[in-house]
């Protein structure tokens, strides 16, 4: 990416571990375009000795010392037309996410001049292992599990998976099952939270043993100016790579150009949907539309551009198949007034420019929100990372939009989603792992969560349900001071408490672990780096949370508990001072939270502070 890593304070010249080139990130996605400059293996040695994977190549796909392995899975039926039976990415998504996590440094990257800069992944020296599980009709559970089965055994360090379905029980969900076995093997799975926001309880990947990543903005916004014949200029959101050369074109309102021969009236043609516009009236003109569409209706009618209106997305720009800009409704109304008043109205749409978004980072509207739909007292998503208008490498087999009528084949493309934020977190996790190769997946998850930049709830009304612990901060995550570690046995206790039976759990763990009064752990005692409790509106509730932290900071250190408790929350920590005499030493404490639910959500925090490290955890009370 050309901006997001710098935006989060993670410059190219950051201190790197000598172990970085031994790190392998497993990308479970739509494949990869191995010829992209982002996957050039110049300067790379052979794969690390721990690598046990393969390159499931064919005549048209080969790995190199950057993309060290690749497999593809299509367990059912034939590969569809236009798709490639190999790990090669015909969609673009997998190439984009892989280059975000671990793409090499490529200067002068851009999308046809837009978002120009030096593109790079979080770990330019890391290796990539590709597991192609997604095809044009989706990503099957059978293939997702097959990829996990291989990736874990192949020896990857981190698994990145930007895919989801709908809320399911932990052992009915291929992603949760795969992530559980990854965790057992010390491999952190980074998951996209989902794009079903801002609806409450819409987070789709929420197992406590995986990292769930929301999507937020960076300080770069793309605007495309609309210039009218009367000199007025409006700024709309879009990624417009087309250059109309400042030429003014006649402009017409879609509502006044219905394709009557096909039965359309103005009330539908105003939306400019496919087939609704009268070609004779629209051809060679810019068309004003009352909805944002990909532009196929306008282009089919011969329009040279489209000015669209949208009252929904305020911080997200998209690409269209013709020159386009998406204006706010009030600006659209102004332009319609100009159309109605001018005798020969004209307009043009300028190529996109970058402006600084002073409100960033803010969680984007589509990012899935908590609370956790299955285990309400585990906070999800865990954190947020850049997922809006991210430039990264693209497949040579797909166009900018992937829609018919788009002939722009590009090396780099700009797209948005929690799919884009997830590989940022995967890269950050791999960065932490490169400094601490022996850390468990939960230690890495804890490091990422407790060092996250706090976010502003005034700019994010859903607060922790939008951003979890906050915005990822990779540099700080390498030195978190303390970690809330957990492992398989902790999750067995948690699952016992959740009602899973001994027989089931013995099979999952492969040992004789059993649920008993001793092992039945409450959800509040899972050693999680955040604290959540829920009750009914208007009621008061008191919960105690048992936690243990491990010293990974200074050998001799004293941490004091700093509590932030807003109205409605009473928080006590016992003991409130933790002293450590050695690295790896563990200390336990109890957090007691009394919440009076006078509103739907109240959040505070606990910070363990030794003057050098601030180990921050959100404390969230919410109404069920």
């Amino acid at each position: 990416t050309t901006r997001s890593w710098n935006f989060m304070g993670f410059p190219l010249n950051v201190t790197r571990s000598t172990y970085e080139s031994d790190i392998i990130i497993g990308m479970l996605d739509s494949g990869i375009w191995p010829e992209s400059e982002s996957f050039n293996d110049k300067g790379f040695g052979p794969p690390p000795t721990k690598w046990k994977g393969i390159c499931q190549g064919s005549s048209n796909f080969t790995c190199n010392n950057k993309v060290i392995g690749a497999r593809y899975y299509h367990s059912e039926g034939e590969v569809g037309p236009g798709e490639i039976a190999s790990p090669r990415d015909s969609e673009g998504h997998g190439t984009h996410t892989a280059s975000t996590a671990a793409g090499d440094v490529v200067s002068h990257a851009s999308l046809l001049g837009v978002a120009s800069g030096t593109a790079r992944g979080g770990l330019p020296s890391a290796r990539i292992a590709v597991y192609k599980i997604c095809w044009s009709d989706g990503c099957s559970d059978a293939d997702i599990l097959a990829a996990f089965d291989d990736a874990i055994a192949d020896g990857v360090d981190v698994i990145s998976l930007s895919v989801g379905g709908w809320p399911l029980d932990y052992f009915q969900d291929s992603i949760a099952i795969g992530a559980f076995h990854s965790m057992k093997n010390g491999i952190l799975t980074s998951n996209s939270a989902g794009n079903s926001g801002p609806r409450s309880e819409s987070v789709l990947n929420f197992s406590p043993w995986a990292l769930s990543v929301a999507a937020s903005t960076i300080d770069r916004k793309f605007v495309s100016q609309v210039k009218l014949g009367n000199g007025a200029i409006y700024e709309g959101l879009s990624i417009n790579t087309f250059d109309l050369g400042n030429t003014m074109y006649p402009i017409i309102y879609g509502g006044e150009a219905p394709n009557q021969t096909a039965g359309y009236e103005g009330i539908s043609s105003r939306l400019c949907t496919s087939g609704s516009l009268n070609k004779t009236l629209v051809e060679g003109k810019i068309v004003l539309c009352d909805a944002a569409t990909i532009g196929s209706g306008a282009i089919a009618a011969g329009a040279v551009g489209s000015i669209m209106q949208n009252g929904f997305f305020k911080d997200l720009a998209s690409s269209y198949i013709l020159p386009a800009s998406v204006l706010r409704m009030s600006d659209g109304a102004d332009i319609l007034q100009y159309l109605n008043s001018a005798s020969e109205p004209t307009a043009t749409i300028l190529k996109s420019i970058e402006i600084k978004d002073e409100l960033a980072p803010a969680v984007v509207i589509f990012s899935s929100r908590g609370p956790n739909p299955l285990t309400r007292d585990i906070l999800k998503p865990d954190l947020t990372a850049p997922g809006v208008d991210i430039l990264a490498a693209w497949s040579g087999a797909s166009t900018v939009t992937g829609y018919e009528g788009d002939n722009r084949f590009v090396q780099y493309n700009i797209i948005s989603g929690t799919s884009m934020s997830c590989p940022h977190a995967s890269g950050a996790a791999a960065y932490v792992k490169s400094f601490h190769p022996t850390w468990s997946s939960d230690a890495i998850k804890s490091a990422l969560m407790t060092t996250a930049y706090p976010m502003n709830p005034d700019k994010n009304p859903d607060a922790e349900f939008a951003y979890g612990s906050g915005h990822i901060n990779p540099i700080k995550a390498t030195d978190p001071g303390l970690v809330y570690d957990a492992g398989e046995i902790d999750y067995v206790k948690f699952l016992c408490g959740q009602g899973y039976g001994t027989r089931q759990l013995q099979l999952v763990t492969g040992d004789q672990s059993a649920c008993s009064a001793e092992t039945n752990g409450t959800v509040w005692d899972l050693n999680y780096p955040s604290y959540t409790l829920s009750t009914k509106y208007g009621e008061s509730i008191t919960r105690t949370f048992q936690r243990t932290v491990t010293n990974v900071g200074s050998q001799i250190s004293t941490y004091k508990a700093i509590i932030n408790a807003p109205a409605g929350l009473k928080i006590q920590v016992q003991p409130s001072v933790l002293s450590f005499q050695s690295l790896g030493q563990k200390q336990s404490f109890v957090v007691t939270v009394e919440a009076t639910m006078i509103k739907t959500m109240i959040s505070g925090s606990l910070v363990w502070d030794d003057g050098l490290h601030q180990v921050r955890s959100p404390i969230v009370a919410h109404v069920t």
């Binding site: 059912e76 559970d141 999952v508």
Partner: protein
């Protein structure tokens, strides 16, 4: 088997951790499947998981799925559906 192909759906039979030591997954899974579908079980076995955990993918009827759910060693049986890129 007298069951139309259209009545069979793809299910994942999740069996937890990978057994220790040598483990012939395909033979083991085919044998399990044979107990519920009878002869020709290998025709309905789509994939065996064996490298990191234990389980298999099979084409099953609803009745066969229910039988497998009650078998020793099975954690869960659920349909293989399609998830989406985010």
């Amino acid at each position: 088997h007298g069951t139309p192909e259209t009545d069979r759906k793809t299910f994942i039979v999740y069996m937890g951790d990978r057994p220790k030591g040598d483990f012939s997954a395909t033979a083991f899974h085919t044998s399990m499947l044979q107990e519920v579908v009878g002869s020709g079980a290998s025709d309905f076995l789509v994939h065996s998981y064996h490298r990191s955990f234990n389980g298999f993918v099979a084409k099953l009827t609803e009745e066969e799925k229910q039988k497998l759910e009650g078998m020793e060693g099975v954690v869960s049986v659920f349909p293989s559906e399609k998830k989406k890129l985010h």
